[in-house]
Amino acid sequence: MMMARRFSIAECLARNASPIVLCGAIALIVIGTALANNAALDRTVIEALIRIVYVVGLYIFVGNSGVISFGHTAFMAIGAYATAWQDCCRTTKPLLMPALPNVLLEATVPPPLATIVSGVVASLFAAVVGVAIIRLSGISASIATFAVLAIVNVIFSNWDSLTAGTSTLVGIPNYTDHWFALLWAVIAIFAAHFYQTSRFGLSLRVSREDEVAAKASGVSIFSQRLIAFVISAFFVGVSGALYAHFLGTISVDAFYIDITLLTLAMLVVGGMNSLSGAVVGVGAISLLIEVLRQSEHGFALGSLTVSAPHGTQEIGLGVAMLIMLIFRRNGIAGNQEIGWRLSRFLAPQLQRSSKVTEDY
């Protein structure tokens, strides 16, 4: 009896080694930040955590299905605006967004609840849109997702009475602190892990490698992709809500091509096929950006301030990403999940641990 219990704890740890290790590492960083008591560092870490939620959400769809989505930022926009509708600027809301139903105009939903609701709204939108476009494959699907982003961008920019159009909305409560962001990062990572080790995730991964074989094995690619699409939209929507509660202001043009390219780059540089890759990618690139920014800022060398010229951060980021891609084609994490060695140690009987299919 004792033996069985010990095995099951070890087994549990082994099965979930990857998210545990990832979340542990992130939690340590956040605790360190909390102790450091530096406002700018704090904001940098929170921004990175929000990006983790986005990229992990993106990974749930892109990583498992192999279909590149250029449109997930639409979900972030929806999440952010859904948040604004719920808890922004009580006094000016009726003036700025008169088309909202009275329920929303009079309400100020508590931010944690607003965040969840925003995620759900994004998922509902993804469900509706997904039914139309998930049937498509490969590049057509990617272009269709971009079309969705463009459509959302145009509608939000011009439906002035609903979203205040191109105007910047101010007055969203600043609820996202490092603990709240950490909480959602952990939820996202564990959700992604449970999804990808579930029957649904595995079926989808099979279709990523070989669509024909998957179909022959009875996998309904359409359903599986749609499920992944909706789940991933939830987290990306949540990241939008977190962002809104972080900056306190939102405007439509923040949710378009720039953030799309950045998050896609983070996913690919980290490793598109593994959850660890998603997290590591965000960490690596966020760190890189900060280091380069500091170099522009300057270091004190004795009585001199040595600083890199303006533009170093952006150009340096591009160059560094290229180098990382050239030297590690499969991303930093390769196709591996962090912690698979640990899980093999803890429960060797789980031979098919969390090591995922490798590329040839």
Binding site: L136, A147, A150, L261, V269, I315
Partner: protein, 305 residues
């Protein structure tokens, strides 16, 4: 009323041609070779910026922009070709055997670098070069107005399309290109100098980018650090709806996008006009859902399962 409808048609053809020309460059590399080059928009931008020299001041120093047009075109094309070759050597070749997603992100990174170099060197303010203003005059035939520039764009597009199709079909180089696009490794084993082939394709697409850039600049007169991006985005969309692998499809796709844009702008009621682009993209999604492989699909490209 009759003239109005015809004029709308004429306007649609004129915008369509600009998009078609841009799509041609993308279609060659993306459609045929399946190489997603998201720095293409920035190649277009560089071509225009090659006309001026960087200064810190507000006034623009136009140098190459003042040369007679043959030299101007050759010089600008030369700049973009060099840029294409450099990109091939430093970015695309090292990533040749990587997954498409990696190549995509790699080309984003390249584009990002180019854009920021432009901002640092030229600053973020738009610059004007009133290129070939005489082309702005319109030819008026029985009340229908078509600017000479648009006629030139149509002619250039069709000529280039014809030349490229011939090139792909008839020349050994073209055959090798199609072979390399279908199966890179196999092609190399069969003796195709795939790197040369792909490199040359990039050079050709660079030349096309230069042509698009100059004609676009002649249309708008003002360049900015991200001027090529909207064109490139529409070009990628048009390539896919036109049919991957088919150059004619790329041109058709470009015309469709242009037509949709103009028709909607002309016919939508005033309060819906600001949503024009949303409607255009809905049209795109509809086309993709109805014909996922695009409108014109070359026989070889159909999946046989």
């Amino acid at each position: 009323m009759m003239i109005s409808a015809l004029q709308i048609l004429v306007d649609a053809i004129s915008l369509g041609s600009l998009y078609a020309l841009a799509t041609l460059g993308v279609g060659l590399v993306f459609g045929v070779l399946r190489l997603a080059n998201f720095a293409y928009g920035d190649f277009i931008t560089v071509a225009s910026y090659a006309l001026i020299i960087p200064t810190a001041g507000a006034t623009v120093e136009i140098v190459i922009g003042r040369w007679p047009w043959p030299f101007l075109v050759i010089a600008v094309a030369g700049v973009v070709v060099i840029l294409s070759l450099a990109s091939e050597y430093f970015v695309f070749r090292p990533l040749r055997t990587a997954k498409p997603a990696v190549l995509m992100v790699g080309s984003f990174a390249l584009g990002y670098i180019i854009q920021n170099i432009i901002i640092v060197v030229y600053d973020g303010r738009p610059k004007a070069v009133g290129l070939w203003p005489e082309l702005g005059e319109a030819i008026v035939l029985s009340g229908l107005r078509m600017p000479r520039l648009e006629l030139l764009i149509i002619v250039v597009t069709l000529v280039l399309l014809g030349a490229l199709v011939l090139f792909l079909k008839a020349s050994p180089f073209g055959v090798q290109m199609r072979a390399a696009s279908e199966d890179f490794r196999m092609a190399r084993m069969l003796g195709v100098r795939a790197n040369t082939v792909i490199g040359t394709s990039l050079v050709i697409s660079g030349f096309l980018a230069a042509v698009v850039s100059l004609l676009f600049l002649a249309q708008v007169g003002v360049m900015s650090f991200n001027m090529g991006v909207p064109l490139m985005l529409f070009a990628f969309v048009a390539t896919v709806i036109g049919g991957m692998g088919s150059l004619t499809g790329a041109v058709v796709g470009g015309y469709i996008v242009g037509f949709a844009s103009i028709l909607l702008q002309a016919l939508l009621p005033e309060h819906l006009r600001t949503f024009r682009d949303a409607f255009v993209f809905v049209v795109v999604i509809v086309i993709l859902v109805v014909r996922p492989q695009g409108l014109l699909v070359p026989r070889a490209a159909r999946e046989r399962v």
